[in-house]
Structures are given as structure tokens and as C-alpha cells.
Assembly symmetry: C2
Homo-oligomer: 199 residues x 2
């Protein structure tokens, strides 16, 4: 059985948890608190030298890091990852967009507001993070104004990856009221069979 | 014929250019200077709403963004992207590692030192970027001390993605002398058939 090392509340850890649930694949969740240093211990670094969660244990000693790599691995040969070459390419495009242009702003703003006291120096990063986060949301809005989902008009791992932090973007101070298509898409993802909460 | 919109000197743009060259696939290079705003024009944003390079035109009107998504697309059914499920998962892991834990530090430090005057406020970011960049290099060193290449003991798109900015990391002030395995791997990549320079 898969073991998924993750931290509750983390959007990146939520992604493989959501997909495993939707695929009805049993797994054991192993809680790791990054803020308590639990991903920097010698034992953990032996499993993942990069010291991050989530981490998927496929078999004992066989570990896969990077949430979006897990989505690709787990979704292979399922409807969540299309077989069509162009659709697959678009899924990959959105997965990399999420990790490079979305998560570093929307997830980080949420982390700062949710976990750090309001007099912490990192609160000074928020204006910059908001500006870049809104750029990512605007790209999503433009796409979703024309499409039901991110790729191929059906639910894929591209939606899972982008849903993870977008549906809790308000916790990072992002007001989604101006993004009608994004909000409509959030409702569509939320209504998918097997959709679970992030907590 | 493919058209590749890119900026000379950019490691992200270099990745698909290197792979296309190694696959002997003809393509037209279209130079776009991001610093001159050429990726923020209405015409460019109509092709890529995220306003970034590289951008691959597959057919007129069909565009793929994100350098690592291009690598996956172009390498499908070639030895550069293994068929084996576990090896593919590891390729994906390293591609996401590159965009999340490597490029934002090593490429950005290089950008600041190479393109911004030394009295620019962004030079103040360098100590933080160096610290995180060295963490990424240490992860690579640990892996490469045991392996010829990143995945499956042969050259794949994981190597291309990580080679792009690692082989010019010195331009971001990274001294690679302490990373013997990384330097050995750089030589192995450099000696691959069809390897071209970044410029």
C-alpha cells in the first residue's frame, strides 16, 4: 500500500491525497510537520534529499517526490491524464505553470498569513506576492472563460494541481470576486466525485 | 516546421533548442527580448497569455508554453523520455525539482548578475538566492555521486532541464568546485552528440 508523507493543510500534499481518493486507491497518510523540522531529520533526508513534503512511498525504499510528478505517475492510464499527445502536452504546461507562476505566490502568501504572526518580517512580501498571484489568476480566468476545465473540456490532473491552492486563495488575501470563470470552475471541481477537503 | 520563440542566453529557452537539435528536428528560432517588453505585447499575449518565453508554435495557432512541458512533448517516443513507468516518474520528479527548487535561485541569481547593474536593489537578493541554489546543487551532487545521469543511467530530458542553468551557474556566482560529481556530469552532458552552446 502506498504511504504518503505530508503535512495537513498543505496544498501540495493535498494534490496526491485528492487523486488517490478519487481513484479509490488505498494509502496510509503519515503526518510530517515541516515547521517542526520533521522533514530535515537524517531519516527523512534519506528518503527525500530535498527535504520536502509530499513524498510518496511506492514500495519500501522507493520514493517519489514532487506533488505534480505524483499526479502524473498515479494518473497514468486513467481518464485524469489523457492519452492524446496534444492534450498531454497541455496538461504538462498547466502543471509547470502551477509550480512556477502560481504556487510560489498564492501558496506562499497563504503560508505567511496563515502561519506567521502579523508582525513577522515576511508579511512585507505580501504586496509583491499578491501582484504576481493575481497575474496567475488572470491567466486562469482568461482560459476558463472559454473552457469548462483546463484541458480537453474534462477534469484532469491539471485541474487538481490548480485547484489545490486556488480554492484556498482567500486565506492568502486573494479576493476571487473578480474572477467569475475561476469561481465557476472551482464549483465544478468541488462537485467531482470523491472530492475531499484540504484539512 | 516548429517555430520556437525565445531569448538568446535564457536557459529555459535553451532547453527545447538543445533537444530539437539533438533530435535533428528542424525549427525556426524567433528572437524575443523579454527585457524590451516583447513578450507583453497584445500580439504575443494572444499566443501566450502568461507572457513568457520560450513558446513553441507546433502549427500556426497551436502554442505550447513551459520549457519542461516542451521537453516532455518533444521527447515522447524517443530515448530521451523512458517508457518505463518508474523511470518516467523520476524524470518528472527532476523536471519539477528543476523548476521549483533550482531555477528560481540559480537562474535568477544569474539574471541579476548578468543583466542588472551592480548597484541595482535586486543584488541584495543574492545571498538568499545563493543559499537556496547551493541547497539544490547539494541535492544534485548527492544523486550524481551514485549515478551517471539523473534517471536510468542514461541521458534524458531530466539532464537537459538541469544542465540548462547548472552549466552557467558560475555566471550567478556559484562556485562549482565543491561539487565534483556535478562537474563530471556536466562534462558527460557536454559530450553528448548534438550538444550546442547556450548563446
Amino acid at each position: 500500500m502506498y504511504r504518503l508523507y505530508g503535512m495537513s493543510g498543505s496544498g501540495n500534499c493535498y494534490k496526491p491525497r485528492l487523486l488517490l481518493t478519487q481513484l479509490h486507491i488505498p494509502f496510509a497518510w503519515v503526518e510530517k510537520d515541516t515547521r517542526a523540522g520533521e522533514t530535515r531529520t537524517p531519516a527523512y533526508l534519506a528518503m527525500n534529499a530535498n527535504g520536502k513534503v509530499p513524498l510518496l512511498e511506492i514500495t519500501p525504499g522507493q520514493y517519489l517526490a514532487e506533488s505534480n510528478a505524483m499526479l502524473c505517475y498515479l494518473a497514468e492510464d486513467t481518464p485524469y491524464l489523457p492519452q492524446d499527445r496534444w492534450q498531454r502536452a497541455q496538461v504538462m504546461q498547466w502543471l509547470f505553470f502551477e509550480q512556477y507562476s502560481h504556487e510560489p505566490y498564492i501558496a506562499v502568501a497563504r503560508f505567511i498569513m496563515k502561519y506567521l504572526p502579523s508582525d513577522h518580517v515576511r508579511w512585507l512580501e505580501l504586496p509583491h506576492l499578491r501582484e504576481r498571484g493575481h497575474q496567475a489568476l488572470a491567466v486562469m480566468e482568461q482560459h476558463l472563460a472559454q473552457h469548462m476545465f483546463f484541458v480537453g473540456e474534462h477534469y484532469t490532473i491539471a485541474d487538481i494541481a490548480l485547484y489545490a491552492y486556488t480554492h484556498v486563495a482567500d486565506e492568502g488575501g486573494f479576493d476571487l470576486s473578480r474572477y467569475a470563470a475561476v469561481r465557476c470552475w472551482l464549483d465544478k471541481v468541488r462537485s467531482q466525485s470523491g472530492c475531499v477537503d484540504i484539512t
